[in-house]
Symmetry: C2
Subunit: 487 residues, 2 copies
């Protein structure tokens, strides 16, 4: 069974985050070496959105139609906002430079992984929709642009996912199968990941269950191809999938990962949020129950953002929060902890220091490592609902008694713990009292809209923390909730 | 594996709904005969709340402390609202009369069941809390009254479940074990049901997972006793449980039905709502996946009320709605359809005719029977959340695009279908347009705040219906949603 810390490197980060002078094969090696040094078990090299970041022979590379010597108003940029053009040019220039130097980026990544004892995977986004609000852009494929009739919601446009490709069409499946075939033939990966959570919506509204049956059958074809290449290569090639965090949502969206595991169609299932917010309440035990008895490993997927409720401002997770989410994944019985969008350079530029990044990734390889560092578990919500399903969220909330249930990993045996509440205090409001697992805590300290309430360790239990906040009128409005644990 | 239509007869209905002149053994037989004639496969005779409806030797009967010849201000009624006293006296008088006539009610029920080829079960409520806001009442046991220290939420009173008994105490478990032992020894049932959903909350807040481990271990003891009695009786005795509708909620509340099934501790798991509203969205496929490979049958539990969202007015379900909920249970893969609170006399006095009751119960025995009658699937919400978990609800809602996902059973191949929307129309609002599974329907007819939109059969799919409601400003406020199917 697969296990360890899995790291997804998206198709643009490597090229986007580096200076314009170009990138080299040595940079690729150094990238792998750094992750290997942090204890990453598998590097999932994402090679595509709607185009590829290498000189594919079956899909267009990102730089198709781009003239590096041309002006900013060349056709491929005509619908792109002007402020995105410099960064896009750097991205494309770097891709071109690496390919021109004879370096096949995914192949080089995988070769270096093998040298370093890290599993090297190809990760394919199965329905990427970045920029589909534009009429043209370097991210959009000719296939997508020329087939509006394949869009899953052809009758309106409310968001990118409305313009996802509908996998009920054989042409769509064939389009992706071509890239799968090339990935298996051209590279020599230890695994192939089909990232169905980019963007998670693959069928017409209401037709997702029928679609799911098509997708399951199609996955069988992919499985056959993977097995065939494993025989040719003389080593195992794993097949993994990223799906929605909630098993019902996942199946209702046509991604029946439980059936896939039970039919032996995949070796790794990674339930994960989409992007909106890291999900600190991943239903790991339920997934573990569902995959029990299969040969499929269970992963828990972390995203990089934190948003306590749908209308709330979002920010990057803190290192403490990322460790909290990771601790729950391990404690919940996962074999794999899976990081998505955890790029040192791009998202965390201002949010994490290099030291925090190193320390956190190193610790994430095991629960033992994580519990030695401070961690925070917070209340968020679950994105990627099936169409028509309401999203539950605990925040914001106001009233005499507000309760929150957090999955908080193993009960600490030493150190300190506190409940951290973000609140808006109406005129005349007094700080609320906090109970943890029915234990009434000493009064907390309220400063700048944040109340910190110490929690005695004996009030904590394994796996779960229930916080009850009792207030008198006028009641505070609670906007964020967390449990911070320091060893 | 257990299968068929299971009918729960609660501990008071038989006595409460009949005239004061008393009940006889013949009435018991007639009650069973009537259900047998309607195709009921198993009758689950509930014998207790906090007291028993027969002359138990280990618990108090309901009539303990009651003097039939005494006045209305006798001690046992002193905290009961005056308007409840006449009905309560009739209840108690009937219980006393039947016992005095030498009829052991549960035994007689089960004997008659056996004669009629119906499974006769004893169903025990594992934590009944009716009237726990009162200081005394005929429903409250001496055990409960004398042990306030066993209450799961001792520090406040917000609702009956706060005063549930905490099964972490051996005394509480022993108290119920005594009743189980008596039930097995005194009666000769085909099955024993532990109704953990009366009322679903059995442990201190935050301590439910620890509690669940205790409960699982304890269930093993019950299982041993059931097996022992099966050997003595020379016939199988099934063990069933009623648990929360959602598998995560159920486990988080300490009712780990998945573990119970996998450890062989029970023969039937019935996920069900508590009471607030019948749950038209029971996650049957998820439960089916979770119980797959075990010898435990899956039931789907119906309740008798309809409430579209938590603050909405509630009413009894219509026969059409009950059939809709039932059709989903069968179509979702259940082996058992389980009716709770479906008393002809009590709740449905004014809501269903005898003909509707007969017709509906007869049809409920199979999906084939149900699809021959009109049925309605509606949007409701899920009660019985674990403490601190927010409840998702789709209604009421207002906006340019509102979507709803309903589990609607098999796709009809003939007949008619319509979407029924309850709406409040602000001044100047125009009727919204309705899409079903991405098919734009013809305009509906709006009258008295209800819009009925015909749906062509070719727009329907198996299992699911997604309704999108598109409106221009000012938007209607949608307060109820249903899909009605007529063969």
């Amino acid at each position: 069974m697969l296990q360890g810390l899995f790291f997804n490197e998206d198709c643009t980060d490597f090229f986007y985050a580096r200076p314009k002078e170009g990138v080299t094969g040595t940079d690729v090696d150094a990238f792998v070496d750094r992750l290997a040094g942090l204890g990453v078990s598998a590097l999932l090299v994402n090679t595509n959105a709607q185009r590829t970041n290498y000189a594919s022979e079956v899909w267009e590379p990102f730089w198709t139609g781009y003239d590096p010597a041309g002006p900013d108003d060349q056709p491929v940029f005509r619908h792109l906002p002007a402020d995105r053009i410099p960064d896009t040019r750097r991205l494309l220039d770097n891709m071109i430079a690496l390919a021109a130097a004879g370096v096949d980026y995914p192949a080089r990544m995988i070769e270096r992984c093998r040298e370093r004892g890290v599993q090297g995977w190809i990760s394919l986004r199965m329905n990427d929709l970045h920029d589909v609000d534009l009429l043209d852009a370097p991210l959009l494929s000719a296939f997508w642009k020329s087939h509006p009739e394949f869009r899953r919601v052809p009758y309106r446009f409310q968001g990118w996912t409305d313009r996802a490709l509908d996998y009920a069409h054989a042409e769509v499946r064939d389009h992706y199968l071509a890239l799968i075939d090339e990935s298996l033939a051209r590279f020599d990966p230890d695994g192939l990941e089909l990232d169905f959570l980019r963007f998670g919506y693959h069928f017409r509204i209401g037709h997702e269950r029928e679609g799911g049956r098509i997708l399951t059958q199609w996955l069988g074809q992919v499985r056959d191809r993977v097995r065939d290449w494993a025989r040719r290569r003389g080593h195992e090639i794993s097949l993994g999938v990223r799906v929605a965090a909630d098993p019902i949502a996942s199946r209702e969206l046509g991604m029946n990962a439980v059936a896939w595991a039970r039919e032996g169609l995949c070796d790794l299932v990674v339930p994960t949020p989409f992007w909106t917010t890291c999900d600190f309440d991943l239903p790991m035990e339920l997934w573990r129950d569902l995959l029990a008895g299969t040969d499929t490993a269970l992963g828990g997927g972390l995203e990089c953002r934190y948003q306590p409720y749908p209308a709330a401002p979002a920010r990057m997770v803190t290192p403490q929060e990322a460790r909290g989410a990771a601790a729950h994944v391990w404690a919940g019985g996962a074999g794999v902890l899976y990081l998505f969008n955890y790029f040192e350079s791009m998202h965390f530029g201002g949010a994490w220091t290099a030291e925090q990044y190193d320390q956190t990734l190193r610790a994430m390889g095991s629960l033992d490592g994580l519990v030695k560092l401070p961690r925070t578990h917070v209340v968020t919500f679950r994105d990627t609902p099936a169409p028509g399903v309401p999203v539950a969220h605990a925040l914001p909330v106001q009233g005499p008694l507000c309760a929150f249930r957090l999955q908080t990993g193993p009960r600490p045996t030493s150190g300190t713990a506190e409940v951290v509440l973000g609140m808006e205090m109406p005129e005349g409001a007094v700080p609320p009292r906090v109970r943890v697992n029915d234990h009434l805590c000493e009064e907390g300290v309220l400063a700048d809209g944040v109340q910190r309430t110490p929690v005695p360790l004996e009030a904590l239990v394994d796996g779960i923390t229930v916080i009850e906040v009792e207030s008198t009128a006028p009641h505070p409005s609670i906007t964020s909730v967390g449990v911070s644990i320091a060893p």
